[in-house]
């Protein structure tokens, strides 16, 4: 939210005379010519509140600055829990830093995009423009509290990310005056092409199929199938199709059947076996509220496993209340460096249910 004096300063900065702003507002109460009575003109303050996008030519970029050092401090408190201390984490989202070299900064093309040495494409391997990072962090980060960062916070965070890729030195201060220079050092700034037929409906396709109708292939080669071990990786396919009619699902919990079932569907599940697919209760809550992003039943992910939590608090009096408070307010230090963000979206009832389930399995 802008304070009014800042808003005034920004209006002047945008070259909007206050006089014309008032004039526009006066017009705003009038209806349109074509559709009388529908819509109104936006006030300058309204446009400023919503028009926050930043383009590659830096149109829309607010004044401000931030250092790598300050960025690192914000990063560790607000970003590292998902992205890792060095932007390297692949736990929740794809990594942000890695895979770029000092040489790439010279050429503007990331070499590891060709040599396939990098297992996963990171943000810095792809993004051609700094404006993209600035715009997105300011608009949508942190994940659970978008629009909570100031412009100066955003400069600092962008500076920190750029330092991870050695695009700026560790003592750098990024600002609206030097950001265009920094953009000229982006490792993949020359790595994008619009030379393709997909941008416009009248574009020319790059691949076109064959219209052959008969004797088109000598013999048919199967190049890829689903491996046997993956047969049931997507759950029982029989339960993802109708249990009546001609197209049932295969029971993927079992090996393929050895002969056709016959028109009555002998041996297959039938309509009377249909069960409601919706799973309810604490386990569903755990998934739907994204607890499963950081906690698994038996394995440590970003946070401790459910089994480990239950073991740690076994028999402790007041464990239920203690953990309910942690879920609500967040916690840190008990299981390692990465803090758990506060889960303030949960109702008290849901919090109680989840904690009880984690502690007792009930």
């Amino acid at each position: 939210m802008y304070r009014l004096d800042k808003l005034f300063a920004r209006l002047v900065f945008l070259g909007l005379a206050v006089f014309s702003a008032q004039l526009a507002h006066a017009q705003g109460v009038q209806g349109s010519t074509q559709f009388p009575g529908i819509g109104r003109n936006a006030t300058p303050a309204e446009v400023i509140a919503w028009d926050i996008d930043v383009r590659p030519d830096f149109k829309g970029l607010p004044k401000g600055s931030g250092s790598v050092e300050k960025g690192q401090a914000i990063w560790e408190s607000k970003c590292a829990s998902c992205h890792g201390v060095f932007g390297e984490s692949n736990e929740i989202f794809t990594p942000i830093a890695g895979g770029t070299t000092v040489d790439d900064i010279k050429t503007g093309k990331v070499a590891s995009l060709v040599d396939r040495k990098q297992p996963q494409r990171t943000t810095l391997m792809k993004v051609p423009t700094v404006s993209t990072l600035w715009d997105y962090i300011y608009r949508a980060m942190p994940w659970n509290a978008p629009r909570s960062l100031t412009p100066d916070d955003t400069y600092a965070l962008v500076a920190f990310i750029l330092s991870l890729g050695e695009i700026v030195p560790d003592d750098f201060v990024l600002s609206n005056t030097n950001i265009a220079e920094v953009q000229k050092k982006m490792p993949n700034r020359n790595g994008m092409t619009r030379n393709h037929g997909f941008w416009s409906v009248s574009g020319k396709p790059d691949v076109n199929g064959s219209s052959c109708m008969s004797n088109c292939v000598k013999f048919v080669q199967i190049g890829s199938t689903l491996p046997d071990f993956a047969r049931n990786a997507h759950g029982n396919i029989a339960e993802q199709n109708r249990l009546y009619g001609p197209y049932r699902g295969s029971d993927s919990t079992k090996p393929p059947i050895d002969r056709l079932p016959g028109s009555s569907g002998e041996g297959l599940a039938h309509a009377a076996d249909t069960h409601a697919a919706a799973v309810k209760g604490p386990a569903a809550l755990f998934k739907n509220e994204n607890c499963s992003a950081c906690h698994a039943p038996n394995a440590k992910l970003v946070g401790p496993s459910i089994a480990d939590i239950a073991a740690k608090y076994k028999g402790q009096s007041g464990a239920q209340e203690k953990l309910m408070a942690k879920v609500k307010n967040g916690g840190s230090g008990v299981w390692g460096a990465i803090p758990m963000p506060p889960q303030s979206q949960l109702s008290d009832e849901d919090r109680a249910t989840l904690v009880r389930w984690v502690l007792t399995g009930q």
Partner: protein, 466 residues
Amino acid sequence: MTKKQIELSAEEISVVEKPASRARLVKAPEHFISQELIADINANGLDETRRGFLRKGFFSALGGAAAGLAAPMAFATGEGDPAILEKQEWQTTLGKNVATMPYGVPSIYEANLIRRESPGLTRVSAASVAFTPLQGLFGTITPNGLHFERHHQGWYNLNPETHRLMINGMVKNARVFTMNDLMRLPSVSRTHFIECGANTGLEWGNVAVPTVQYTHGMLSCCEFTGVPLKVLLEECGADLKKGKFLLTEGGDGSGMTRTINLDSCLEDTIVAWSMNGEMLRPENGFPLRLVVPGVQGVSWVKWLRRLEVGDMPWNTKDEAVHYIELMPDGMHRQYASIQECKSVITTPSGGQQLLDKGFYNVSGMAWSGRGKIKRVDVSFDGGNNWRSARLETPVLTKSITRFNIDWVWDGSPAILQSRAVDDTGYIQPSIKMLRDVRGNRSIYHNNAIQSWKLDSNGEVSNVQVG
């Protein structure tokens, strides 16, 4: 993956046919009752031994089947089908009142056909996908409750009273509209498909998922109602000569922003509030979304709150980090947005089980982001020979077209494929043709011909040929 070569010669299977008389609803396969036992019960009634078989709990709670079975049969086996010869519960009792379900839901027998996540695809369900069960759909329209979902920062029930649409940038007057305003404007209703750019993206390298729900389920088709974008832009005095680009912004946490190419999309884009006759569902952008026919789904911004006219593309995060396509030379294609002509057979399809040899109506969907479907060819021998399918009318532009073709299955192994042609003359390519040009790391815009292998046991699986 070892390459195997299959001979598509007819393999005769002899199945001893028994007269079909499933006298009762029985659970299967673990509680399957043999025909012999049924015949035995029919002939001799129930005694303690036979009751023991039946106590294994295979009767569902759905009907008084057990009671019916315990009673002496009115007809001996062979006289006919018990489903006809015996009175059913719904013939002999009073049914439910009108409006028992004030907002109707599908039959309990349809519970298996729901949107599903693909295990392991993403780590956070707020930034994930729920796929449409195409294997169970008919015609062209996706029911609203089954429309696929893809969110970048979770979904909300936005309050329509406080929702606003702002139009600014290269316009004479930056304007604000409420839902009250927008829904008074002259509206149009158009049927269009929406397909995520990453649909079928898991299959660039090899077969990865078992069913059409996961291979093609980021696809839906609805009748959308709203006001044409052009009407709104003209209303604000947009400079459409210099302002060739439009930034569209969503009202969710990600504040999703996409650049729209007005040269290509101005004429048929809609600012929509309705899908299939009711308001948009919250998961699909209630109360307002952009409908950009033929363009990948990510540009159909949900919870639409702002449109800005400008003279250059914005290079937003989802145009510079995601939704870009890595080519073999290390360059990324940017702003690739048109969904090219594509088709898939939905019945039969991967993971399905056919019951028997004989006649089948093989059916599927075809669509093109460049216009109308002109022809769909179907092959039953892995692409060696093709026959043209029937297109169900009306064939609409940038919409799903349903195709059907008659087939008598002789019981031998088969590989089913469909290949669509649109009215620009473009022909749907094979996966090999696509890989030859684009490699296999581009993730997006995989519109390859889909192959389903049918084995002699009636099981269908996902394969890639060539």
